[in-house]
Amino acid sequence: MTTETLTMGKALNLGLRRAMDDDPKVVLMGEDIGRLGGVFRVTDGLQKDFGEARVVDTPLAEAGIVGTAVGLALRGYRPVCEIQFDGFVFPAVNQIVTQVAKISARSQGRMRMPVVIRIPFGGGIGAVEHHSESPEAYFAHTPGLKVVSVSNPVDAYWGIQQAIAAPDPVVFLEPKRRYWEKAEVDLDAIPEPLFRSRVVRRGDDVTVLAYGPMVATALQAAAAAAEEGRSLEVVDLRTLSPLDLDPVVDSVRRTGRCVVVHEAQVSHGLGAEIAARLTEQCFHSLEAPVLRAGGYDVPYPPARNEEEYLPDLDRVLDAVDRAMGF
């Protein structure tokens, strides 16, 4: 067993490296990913070892990056596109939503799109505008795309490899403020499947759902709640489309209460879809409506208002209180 203590950024780096070792058709493309190793250094050293033909520094053109990936995929390559920051994905949305997502259906399954679009997402790093967005709902709303978000180095290491190996396009969301958080990663383990959610803390009173950057926040909230004698079950959703709600349904049938946490603006977000499904599937077990704790319905603010915007432990606990109060 080979176990290493890795940051999430390094885990992604090693995962990419292993995917490139395993499959010569894996090609990385993006802005500043070569010599610089990406602005978050996720691709550090990969161009040096795999060459400029497999780790491609592209012009500054997101639509072009993703569109070119479509063409490469048609020739059997497995392109992994890095979008430098969440707010810069929007020029590429035409290619992602109208093309990448639909080519399989358009070609009656003859053309597969094994494209991975990596996006560092979310806030909390005091950045300038367009560097802190949570665009997952746009993609999750688009049939034909799979959307995953990792919350820890273990999932990052395996998840990026699984996303690359997947036959369909995957929008792979990396919580940038967790890039530097560390965990032990067993490099020889048998990984959990990519498109499955996972209970990460057992509890009986309220089920708290989170993904990406908010999993750590939900776990902090659970620890704080435990001190007050409240037992929160925390589920890391991991996959946002398709949603894997079976473990959640089991959990909510036990607890009768559920809070969905995401950094994205609450309205029309993932939480709404989850609440609707849980209402359908757990209606008779619910002791309270499914509640949401998330970002306010405002543009992601400049750094000085960031703390007020971001859902934190207190906002999660407030929602838990409300769920318990019904």
Binding site: D32, V39, L60, G64, A127, V128, N305
Partner: protein
């Protein structure tokens, strides 16, 4: 008798790169043979002071950022002639500057207070507000998005019968975005009074100009949009001023848009979070040092007895005082508070937002 038809050859080839940038001031500060400055002595001294101001602020900003007193920002360092030369071709009373994010002195010339700029990079929402009558748009972080907007702004001004011109900035990196091409093309079809100032500083973060486009010059794209293009030495204040003045004059006369590529060089990091030593070749960086745009203007002014040590010291002291004053002012600004999060999402606060605002205020108060 048979005639032989010549074999087909492409009619439009990659241009051969012979186009030499327009220059007025040589690196040693002497005028090119027969060249005449398009700025008078007082204007030249003012422009030089603005360049020095920009350089001084870059240094101060870096040092404040390292102390945690300023946010991530992108210095102008090396590009002062390109930005200032273009800006001083405008009449701030009627013309507009649409920035990207590396054009501080152009914004100052238009009348934006330094404090406003600093607030933006301190992450304060109030930085986005330019005082009434200051013809600038807010800093644009989404590369190239400002370009079609500038075309619309110019078109709108023209439709309203104003004799105003819009100067919009972008870089070699942003010129690879689709928005760049759409903007240039639209401007050509509309005849909009806009000047695209493409600062080719050699680098888009770590991506060198050679990897950004196979075009030998970026200015050479202009004929493809049906608009005039110019290549100019971006480290030559007078050359930039002359070329941009010409473009502004044509735009004002109703003759439509222009694309100006300034050849310049980013002297160091992309921003305060970057480490250019990872990718910028040291010898390339060194080769640009003798072409420093500020040294060139200073040498010129000194050679004409328009600048001496005494004046230099007075200017630098004045700049230092102004920057210190702005730092003191912005550091005294109270945090924006909860209201700024909600106040300007739209004309009215929706009931749902009003409730979210009340929830947040209540939770802040109970902590």
């Amino acid at each position: 008798m048979s005639t032989t038809r010549p074999a087909f050859t492409p009619q439009f080839m990659r241009e051969d790169g012979d186009a030499a940038p327009w220059t007025v001031l040589r690196p040693d500060g002497q005028l090119e043979e027969g060249a005449r400055p398009t700025l008078d002595d007082a204007q030249l001294r003012e422009a030089c002071e603005l360049m020095l101001f920009s350089r001084a602020f870059d240094e101060k900003g870096f040092s404040l950022q390292r102390q945690g007193r300023f946010g991530t920002f992108s210095p102008v360092r090396g590009q002062e002639a390109s930005v200032v030369g273009a800006a001083v071709a405008l009449d701030p009373q009627r013309d507009w500057v649409v920035p990207q994010y590396r054009e501080l002195p152009a914004l100052l010339r238009q009348g934006l207070p330094l404090e406003q700029f600093m607030l933006t990079f301190l992450g304060d929402p109030r930085g986005g507000l330019a005082p009434e009558g200051v013809n600038v748009l807010p800093i644009q972080i989404g590369l190239a998005a400002q370009l079609p907007q500038a075309v619309g702004l110019a078109w709108g001004l023209a439709r309203q019968g104003r004799d105003a011109v819009v100067l919009v900035f972008c870089g070699d990196g942003a010129s690879s975005e689709g928005d760049f091409h759409e903007a240039c093309n639209l401007a050509g079809t509309l005849g909009a009074p806009v000047v695209f100032l493409l600062q080719n500083n050699g680098w888009a973060i770590s991506t060198p100009r050679s990897r950004q486009s196979a075009a030998v010059t970026l200015a050479a794209r202009a004929p493809g949009y049906g608009i005039p293009g110019s290549l100019v030495d971006g480290n030559d204040l007078l050359a930039v001023h002359e070329v941009v003045s010409d473009a502004v004059g044509r735009a004002r006369a109703g003759d439509g848009p222009s694309l100006v590529e300034t050849l310049t060089y980013r002297l160091g990091d992309h921003n305060t979070a970057d480490d250019a030593r990872r990718y910028q070749p040291a010898d390339e960086l060194e080769s640009w040092a003798p072409r420093d745009p500020i040294a060139r203007v200073l040498a010129h002014l000194r050679s004409r007895d328009l600048w001496d040590d005494e004046h230099d010291a007075a200017v630098r002291a004045r700049i230092g005082r102004r920057i210190d004053e702005a730092v003191r002012t912005v550091e005294g600004v109270e945090p924006p508070g909860v209201d700024h999060l909600f106040a300007h999402v739209g004309e009215e606060l929706s009931p749902r937002l009003a409730r979210q605002r009340a929830d947040l205020i209540a939770s802040v108060e109970t902590r």
